[in-house]
């Protein structure tokens, strides 16, 4: 399985080369080096896939062992990578989408002062992501998990000159820290109960876990996944993350990194299958996230915010799939989503690029004639995400909703309503941006927006084709369920299959199609000639349900209450966010530390004596029998 090493090795090589010589290679060259590295990695991934395909279905799990990493008593961790149907699917779409986005970035980041550095981070990111999806044990997955987190942090604040970019990076960092804790604790629990952290040993032995422990492990890992995959209530960071360059949003915050949580849950499906309560929780959180984010998306005016909320919503769908045991459907949606969401982002990027970094849809409009390729690819992406047959979203979302229906009708109802909203808000985006009256004159100061260079449109076209036809991967007819047949050995008995009656099998997809078309029509009726409708854009939704400011208030004000020692002038930075509040509390305690450290020896002695007295009190308590 040496070729697996190549899949991971090429991005690493690209990273190292760019790190060492990036500055010398210069503006377009560095981008090409990065792109080629990823493209080669994609080729290697294809070879891996073919090699696995040639094997019998039961023997498609291959492990590449490099060396022993940690060995401490019973605890050992090897640097081992795993090629199995699941990780190959992940590898293929990660490297494929990443290669296209690299190509696009060559055009997008042109003339940026730190052009080569951008590709250094991007290659490192792809490497980390591949480590994440191919690792054969939890600690190594965690390394990749941290690696993508760190790259995402750097890339969000890539334009750190903007203060908002820097603080957004910080927010992403801290919220992901909350999730990481879940990951580590989950790992420890797994090790405590199964005496191993290797997937090869843990997953087949998962059934030995006591039910309660399995629930706990599932919930802890879901905490990690919720942080990374931006589920309620931890999704606020993803919106701020849009401060990064658009290719970053496309690659990291739409196609790959944010889906890592879904991948992790799918990877741990044998444990999840034991945890019924946890699964139900995940399904509910998923569907609620999907709905809430879709509602919020209907009112945004920043084009990237719309897409970001849409991403959160789609991730909610994936978690719904995970929660209902429809792992294949979740992975299917993940793949198709990677295509159409990357496409939406890149198209938006193309628009933003031609409008000199303008992001408000209020100042766009009538761009379809000027940027035909961008417009058409965006429309394909819209129809895909809306679930209009026969575009890919129809099949992938349909299979999620089918299993949701099998689990509980209520989940299905919410899911369908969300689908309607999805078709609607994306339609709003398309009509307001590409049709209606031009409103961009102010921004462009006279000159007309023009189509992006070819290096940016080629990835758009490729992704558009993929988004349109990706449904072929898993058609809902017994012989044509390629992805299902490919993946089912991985999930085995964990995969839940619901039996639907013949009429349901016809009615459910029909409902999906009708709903999608309905959403398209409504959007057309409402937004064809309007760029603003106050009644349909309530502030509560524009502000993302006030979730962010709710955090501001609870944490920041809570902190303030603690410090109500006459200090009425609240530092303006406190109201900077939930993180600000917590950070402020820490700062306050830290300031207390500086007061304690008065420099007076006798005060120090007093503190020490205080410690001794407390200790002796404890002695008295323990000694008195």
């Amino acid at each position: 399985m040496l070729v697996l090493g190549l899949v991971i090795g090429f991005p690493l090589l690209g990273f190292l080369v760019l790190l060492a010589f990036g500055k010398r290679i210069g503006d377009p060259g560095a981008g090409w080096v990065g792109t080629i590295a990823i493209a080669l990695s994609f080729v290697a991934a294809v070879v891996t896939w073919i090699l696995l395909l040639s094997k019998h279905a039961g023997q498609r799990t291959q492990v590449l062992r490099l060396f022993q990493w940690i060995h401490a008593g019973g605890f050992h961790v090897n640097i081992t990578f795993r090629a199995d149907p699941l990780s190959v699917v992940m590898m293929l779409f990660v490297t494929g989408v990443a290669a296209l986005i690299h190509l696009y970035s060559i055009g997008y980041m042109k003339r940026d002062a730190r052009f080569h550095q951008f590709f250094v981070y991007l290659n490192l990111f792809v490497f980390s992501m591949l480590v994440l999806v191919t690792a054969n044990n939890l600690p190594l997955t965690f390394l990749g998990w941290e690696g993508v987190g760190a790259c995402s942090y750097w890339l969000i604040s890539f334009w750190f000159e903007r203060p908002s970019a820097a603080s957004a990076g910080k927010k992403a960092f801290i919220i992901n820290r909350i999730g990481d804790m879940g990951f580590m604790l989950g790992t420890f629990l797994v090790f405590e109960n199964l005496h191993s952290v290797s997937y090869s040993q843990v997953l087949p032995a998962a059934h030995r876990l006591p039910a309660g422990t399995a629930e706990a492990i599932a919930l802890l890992f879901f905490l990690a996944a919720a942080g990374k995959s931006a589920q309620l209530p931890l999704f606020t960071w993803l919106l701020d993350a849009m401060e990064g360059p658009t290719p970053v949003s496309a690659l990291i915050h739409a196609a790959t990194m944010v889906t890592a949580g879904v991948y992790l849950m799918a990877r741990l499906s044998p444990i999840l299958a034991l945890a019924h309560a946890a699964s139900t929780t995940i399904a509910i959180i998923g569907v609620v996230t999907a709905f809430v984010a879709a509602m919020a998306a209907t009112s945004q005016t920043d084009i990237k915010k719309i897409v970001a909320f849409s991403t959160v919503s789609q991730l909610g769908y994936m978690m719904l799939g995970i929660g209902t045991g429809a792992y294949v459907a979740a992975i299917f949606l993940m793949v198709t989503h990677a295509f159409y969401k990357a496409l939406i982002f890149l198209s938006s990027g193309s628009v933003i690029h031609s409008l000199d970094s303008e992001q408000s849809i209020r100042r766009m409009g009538a761009l379809a004639k000027l940027m035909p390729i961008t417009a058409w690819t965006m429309i394909i992406a819209w129809l895909s995400i809306a679930g209009v047959p026969p575009f890919s979203g129809f099949f992938s979302k349909g299979s999620i909703l089918e299993d949701a229906f099998g689990r509980n009708e209520l989940l299905w109802v919410v899911g369908v309503v969300t689908a309607l909203l999805t078709a609607y808000y994306m339609g709003r985006l398309v009509f307001v941006v590409f049709y209606g009256k031009p409103r961009w004159q102010e921004v462009t100061k006279g000159h007309e927006p023009h189509e992006s260079p070819r290096i940016m449109t080629i990835p758009l076209i490729v992704l558009a084709v993929a988004a349109a036809v990706a449904g072929l991967l898993n058609l809902p007819y017994s012989g044509l369920r390629f992805l299902h047949n490919w993946l089912s050995p991985v999930f085995g008995s964990a995969l839940v299959s619901y039996h639907l009656s013949a009429s349901e099998k016809v009615l459910l997809p029909a409902t999906d199609a009708v709903v999608a078309l309905l959403g398209v029509v409504i959007a057309w009726r409402l937004w064809r000639n309007h760029s603003e409708r106050k009644a349909l854009e309530p502030t509560v939704l524009l502000k993302g349900w006030y979730l962010d400011s709710f955090y501001d208030r609870t944490f920041a004000r809570g902190g303030t209450a603690l410090a109500k020692f006459g200090d009425r002038v609240v530092d303006p930075t406190i109201i900077d966010g939930a993180v600000g509040g917590v950070a402020w509390l820490f700062r306050w305690v830290g300031g207390l530390g500086r007061k304690v450290q008065s420099g007076l020896v006798r005060s120090y002695l007093l503190i020490m004596v205080g410690g001794i007295v407390v200790m002796l009190a404890y002695v008295l308590v323990s000694a008195a029998r």
Partner: protein
């Protein structure tokens, strides 16, 4: 009458295992050689000679310990010299860690210290003597020997902290360290006295034997003694609330001494703490574990939180070392052989990186022409442009301290947390991880400052300490090339070791897992 007869009998000296006390003899002997040479050759003519002897002694000590470890693996551990010291894997491994810390300091330290305080044999001598104390503490199988080792180490450190005697900050640091240290020594000693009263011995093995064969009806005095001993150790390792000295002393001491002190005091005190608790008081685990938990949790939390507000880098690192102490205490409170191993790993990893870190900070201070006592975040802003090598190396070491993957710091944190999980104290593991996350924030702040764009705001550090600086006369230090070469070797070695054991921790884990305590 019979009594007087007995005392007439000739005294039979116990057999002395020179092999077991080889490390002490090498270091102490080298110190005496340096002193003797300086009297004949001339004090300041041959600074390189003294450093060379010191370095040689440190390496020899490490080699001796390694050989000792090999022999112990073959022939088994034993007690030596009338049971006063324990010749076991644990002491040999600690001997190796001490040697590593000493070698790095021998490379980095003298160049800096002697450029401020004048050249001479004293610094090298004190380094060797203090390391002798550390080895004694690691081997000690008797509370009296622990105390003597502690005092040898501490008194040498008091003097080293005050080595830049012409600077007010250094003198003040020495004084504070001394007076608080003297107080805590007295408390520690009182604890020893009470344990002696309760068990009839100061010998760890004999205490354990007594406690396992007798049930004390009234165990107050024993517990009292254990608690006071913990206070003494808590002071040495700077665990909250006995940490109060460390920010001041870390800041005031010559920077490379700070690194050495952070490393060596922790190695020695934790080694002795582990042995005392594991050997003598293992049966009292239920009693002392909550105390250690309290110390650990407080150190973790306050070390991390107090550092957030610091702009003074050396003080920030002092708090970070308090946080580290909390982590190492996790291994102690586990009180299992795994916990011992993980603590040793942490100590080894931490010592190497902290000495390197402070070496780099010394370099930055020399560059900036700063008083050694102060270096604020603003002073290092944009260092990545001016001195990329220094900035990158410092960033690596700081990230290692934060526990970044692929550095030994990550494995260290990971393994102590595993140790505490293995005794089912999950909440402590959670606390530790949360504080690691909080700590990551201030480490990151330092790293970001190193690579940020805007230049330094001038003179913040100077403005803060007008009084203190008055006594000194630091008109920009200059380092000769002859000093710079070993300094860079030491720094690179520290970074290389940190990264190497991050990539291949198994080698170090194998070593420390041979460090079993004999009882």
């Amino acid at each position: 009458m019979f009594g007087s007869l007995v005392s007439q009998l000739p005294i039979r000296l116990p057999s002395i295992s020179y092999q077991a006390i080889g490390p002490e003899l090498i270091l102490f002997g080298a110190a005496l050689v340096v002193l003797a040479l300086s009297a004949t050759v001339g004090r300041r003519e041959h600074p390189q000679l003294y450093r060379g002897i010191g370095l040689f002694a440190a390496v020899a000590e490490g080699a001796w310990s390694a050989n000792l470890l090999r022999l112990i693996d073959q022939h088994g551990p034993s007690l030596a010299i009338a049971g006063a010291i324990s010749n076991d894997g644990f002491s040999a491994v600690v001997g190796i860690i001490v040697a590593a810390a000493l070698v790095l300091t021998m490379l980095i330290g003298p160049g800096f210290v002697e450029s401020v305080a004048g050249q001479g044999p004293e610094f090298v001598t004190l380094l060797l003597l203090s390391a002798t104390g550390a080895i004694v503490m690691a081997q000690a199988n008797d509370l009296i020997v622990v105390f003597l080792g502690l005092e040898i180490l501490s008194i040498a450190l008091y003097v080293m902290v005050g080595f830049r005697l012409r600077d007010g900050l250094s003198r003040e640091a020495a004084f504070k360290y001394f007076i608080l240290g003297g107080f805590s020594s007295a408390v520690f000693l009182y604890g020893v006295a009470l344990v002696y009263g309760a068990t009839g011995s100061t010998n760890l093995v004999k205490i354990a034997a007594f406690l396992s064969s007798h049930v004390l009806i009234n165990n107050g005095v024993l517990l009292f003694g254990i608690a006071l001993i913990l206070v003494g150790f808590g002071f040495k390792v700077s665990a909250v609330p006995f940490h109060v000295w460390s920010p001041d002393v870390y800041q005031g001491a010559p920077t490379s001494v700070t690194g050495y002190m952070a490393a060596m005091a922790k190695i020695a005190a934790f080694a002795a703490l582990l042995r005392v608790m594991m050997v003598a008081f293992h049966l009292q685990l239920e009693f002392w574990r909550p105390i250690v938990i309290a110390l650990a949790v407080l150190s973790l939390v306050f070390g991390a939180v107090f550092a957030l507000r610091q702009r003074e880098i050396k003080r920030m690192l002092a708090y970070s070392s308090i946080n580290h102490a909390g982590f190492i205490l996790l291994g102690v409170l586990a009180a299992t052989s795994g916990g011992v191993r993980d603590s040793l790993f942490y100590l080894g990893a931490y010592s190497v990186m902290v000495i390197g870190t402070f070496g780099l900070i010394s370099l930055i201070q020399v560059d900036a022409g700063k008083v050694e006592g102060s270096l604020s975040l603003d002073d290092v802003r944009g260092l990545g442009r001016r001195r990329p090598a220094v900035a990158v190396l410092l960033a690596i070491l700081i990230l290692a301290q934060a526990g970044a993957p692929f550095t030994s710091g990550f494995i260290a944190k990971f393994s102590v947390i595993t140790a505490v999980i293995s005794v089912n104290e999950y909440w402590i593991a959670v606390v530790a991880m949360v504080t690691a996350a909080v700590a990551a924030a201030f480490y990151l702040r330092l790293v970001l400052a190193l690579f940020s764009k805007d230049e330094a705001e001038v003179g913040v550090g100077d403005a803060l300490y007008p009084v203190a600086v008055r006594g000194g006369s630091d008109q920009g230090l200059r380092l000769s090339t002859a000093s710079l070469v070993p300094i860079w070797i030491g720094i690179w070695a520290s970074v290389a070791i940190t990264v190497f054991f991050g990539l291949f921790p198994t080698l170090l884990l194998d070593l420390v897992s041979r460090g079993k305590i004999f009882y």
